[in-house]
Each structure stands twice: as structure tokens, then as C-alpha cells.
Amino acid sequence: MNILQEAFEKSFELVFTLNEDLFEILLLSLKVSGISLVLSCLIGLPLGTFLAIKSFWGKDEFLVLFNTMMGLPPVVVGLIVYLLVSRSGPFGWLGILYTPTAMIIAQMILITPIIVSLTSQIIEEISQEYKSLFASLVVPSHKAIIAYLFDARYSILTVVLAGFGRAISEVGAVIIVGGNIDHLTRVMTTTIALETSKGNLSLALALGIILLSIALTTNFILIRLKIGAKRRMYV
């Protein structure tokens, strides 16, 4: 049988038979990526906004640094986090190696620069657009920041989605710090890698299709939101 056809059948079977293992892996993937995304947004959105609207010495260097970090190789991040949290590392006492917590930290390091850089670009654009108006209205800084973030919400949603995409699809870092332990740190991407190495290609592909479906659904919802916003010229 064609391997693609087999993979599609397998993926449907896994989903519609409510396969326990699949849903455990899927939920852990969403949990790890979701938590790392929320934490990255909590850091990245204010930091990106700060970089966009404040002038200070070394600002350009900061932006270059974050832009460069957007392309951080996941395995390198995984290795660094591994060295930091392994028993002999400075944070070894936390005992978080091969736990979802270490995976969340690794993913945060990967996606925070994306959130910071893209937020900074978006907020810089809108703050320039509103600059004269806000100066004329004597808008206090905190109200200006709220207005920037609110009015750029649709663009920021795209940023959040980009972060989520990076997190959910990432394998290199989580496999190093998580160890791909069954029922503990096994997520979609590490399972795909494992099944591929075992030669179980149709199952690997089936998991890939499910992962892709999640990404497609999320993107579809966001694109619909953005099209609606564009029609009203809110973007």
C-alpha cells in the first residue's frame, strides 16, 4: 500500500479511536508549547514594546541580538539548557533535567526572541503612526502603550502564532533536555523522530499529519481573524 495512504488511514484511526497514547503525547505537546508560549509572551511583549518606544544607549545592539537569536539552532539551545540543568551544572540542584519544565525553559529560550523582535517591529510602526497625535493629546506613556498593544492586537496575534509554530514543531532542544521518556516527556515531535528511527514510517507520518492539522487549524482561525480585521482596516 502507498505509504501516504497508509499514513492517512493510520492518523484517522489514531484520532477516531481516541488512542490514549496519542492523546497523552498530544496533550503534553500542547501543554509544554502553550506554557512556554504564555511565559515568552509575558516577557517578550513588554520587552519588545519597551525596545520599540524607548531610546537608550545600546538599543540597536539589543535589537540585533534578538533578531539574531530568532534563528537560534534548537540543538544548541537544548545543549546549553542541558549543561545548565544537568546534575553537574549550575542549576543541577533544581533536578529538572528530563522533565517537562526543562522542555518549557528550552522552548522559551527559542521563542522569546521571536516575540521580542516581531513585537518591537510592530509597536515601532504603530507608535510612529500615532506619534504626533499622542504628543498633541498629551497621552501618558502607560495609556499610549495600552493603545499600541490594543490597536496592534491582530498583528501581535500573528507573532504569538509564529511563536507557537516554532514551539510545537521544535524537536532538537526538547529531545536533549526532555530525553523523550515515555509517559513523561514524550511529545509529538520526539515521537515522530523515534518512530522514524525505528523504521515505523507510516506511524511517524500519521503523527506528522496530526501535528500539521493542529498547525493548519490554528493558522486558519488566525487568518480568518486577520482578514476580518483588514477589511475594517484595523491592521
Partner: protein, 244 residues
């Protein structure tokens, strides 16, 4: 119906501009300009493109840095309290990426005003009644400018600065904006407005400031200016000749 009772406005006038110089980058835009703007006047700032009219307005509104000279409002230097009683309408209106009502609400929020009823009345005044939910950036050019003016009116400004508010507008918007300018003046506001429209200047102005190449060449009462301009540049400008 319009209420002609004068508002209880903070007195920001006379506005005294003394030896004011403003540069943008290396370009000197305003070159030691001096003038006095009387209380409750409608002062039309006219002059060719690039003469410095818009920067003059923006400097009064505290939006540009001053190289030299000073501006005082009833003998007080510009500060946030004074700026809170000024409103500026830009030539190209900047509207928030929201609907009409939210654009108005934002000003209320910034100025800590409870403005539900006021907003309704002002939108009616500028001909935008029933536009509450319409996305602001989908309005026509005239409607955008009227919304921009509505936001300014919400502040109940003592000094209203208008930078070519009727440029490229249809007759309906032009008439409506001019009526509102006259109404605000009757209520006690001091109005400073830039324009290239000589007919409009004649209709509205109590005083004229004529700019050319960053300098004020004339400041006089409107009737005197149009009857007998003192400089050859002003004569040429009124007659529609090109100033080089």
C-alpha cells in the same frame, strides 16, 4: 441647537511668540518669528508651501523643539496643563485602528472625561451621527477630517489649532467645518488655522499672519491685509502669483 453661551475656558491668550527659531535637521524652518495672537481671535496663517506654517502650528502645540526664542500663553510657558487645553487637527488625520466611537472614547479616557452624551452630541454636530460602529479608517476623506475635528472638540479647547483642515474636502464638509470654527470662536476659543484658500481666509479670519520662507512678513487684521497688503510678497500671494 447651538448654544452660544461662552464656555468657562482657561485663559491661554494672548499667545506671544518672540524671536522663535525652529530647525528640522539642518534646515532652519522658522527664522526668528515674532507675533501676538489675541484672545478669542480667528487667526489665519497663510503663505506658500514650505513657508513654515504647519511647523509654526506644531510648535505652538509643543510638538517640535525650539532652537531659540519663546512662546508664552498668557505670560506662562507651555506646559502639560496648557497643552491639555489645546487641540490640534492635523492636515492628514491620524485615526486609531478602531471604530468612530472608540476613537472618541480614547480621547475621553486620556482626558479622564465621562463623555457618553458629549460624544453623541459632538458626532451629531460634525455630521457623523450614526457612524459609531463604522471603522474610522474606512471613512471618506471629509468624514475622517470631521472625526478628527470631533476629537478635538471633545477636549473643549481654549486654543484650537487647525492645519489646513479643509484641504481637498467636498463643499459639505468644508461648510460644516467652517460653521464649527465660527461656533467655537463664539464660545470663546482662540483659533489658529492654516490655509491656502483665500476665500476661506476672507470668510473666517479676524487676523492674518503671512509667512514666507520661514519668516513672518505681515501680521495684521484680515480686512486691512486683503485691502492693502504691505509687502510685495503678500500682494503676489493674494493675486495668485508664484513666490520664488
Amino acid at each position: 441647537m447651538y448654544n452660544s453661551n461662552k464656555k468657562n475656558l482657561i485663559k491661554l491668550t494672548p499667545i506671544e511668540v518672540i524671536d522663535l527659531s525652529v530647525s528640522l535637521g539642518k534646515d532652519l524652518i522658522l527664522d526668528k518669528v515674532s507675533c501676538s495672537i489675541k484672545n478669542n481671535s480667528i487667526t489665519l496663517v497663510i503663505g506658500p508651501n514650505g513657508a513654515g506654517k504647519s511647523i509654526f502650528l506644531q510648535t505652538i502645540n509643543g510638538l517640535t523643539n525650539i532652537d531659540n526664542g519663546k512662546i508664552t500663553f498668557n505670560k506662562i510657558y507651555n506646559n502639560d496643563e496648557i497643552r491639555n487645553k489645546q487641540a490640534m487637527v492635523f492636515q492628514t488625520p491620524t485615526l486609531l485602528r478602531r471604530n468612530v466611537k472608540s476613537n472618541m472614547d480614547f480621547v475621553c479616557n486620556v482626558k479622564n472625561k465621562n463623555g457618553k452624551l458629549i460624544i453623541k452630541n459632538i458626532l451629531k454636530r460634525v455630521g457623523l451621527e450614526g457612524y459609531d460602529d463604522k471603522p474610522a479608517r474606512l471613512l471618506s476623506g471629509g468624514e475622517k477630517q470631521r472625526l478628527s475635528l470631533a476629537r478635538a472638540l471633545l477636549i473643549e479647547p481654549s486654543v484650537l489649532l487647525l492645519d489646513e483642515p479643509t484641504a481637498n474636502l467636498d463643499p459639505f464638509s468644508l461648510k460644516l467645518i467652517e460653521e464649527i470654527i465660527l461656533e467655537e470662536s463664539k464660545k470663546g476659543a482662540t483659533i489658529i488655522l492654516t490655509t491656502h484658500d483665500m476665500a476661506q481666509a476672507k470668510r473666517l479670519a479676524s487676523d492674518i499672519i503671512f509667512f514666507n520662507k520661514g519668516k513672518i512678513l505681515e501680521q495684521t487684521e484680515a480686512n486691512a491685509f486683503f485691502r492693502n497688503p504691505l509687502t510685495k510678497e503678500a500682494k503676489k500671494y493674494i493675486n495668485g502669483e508664484i513666490l520664488l
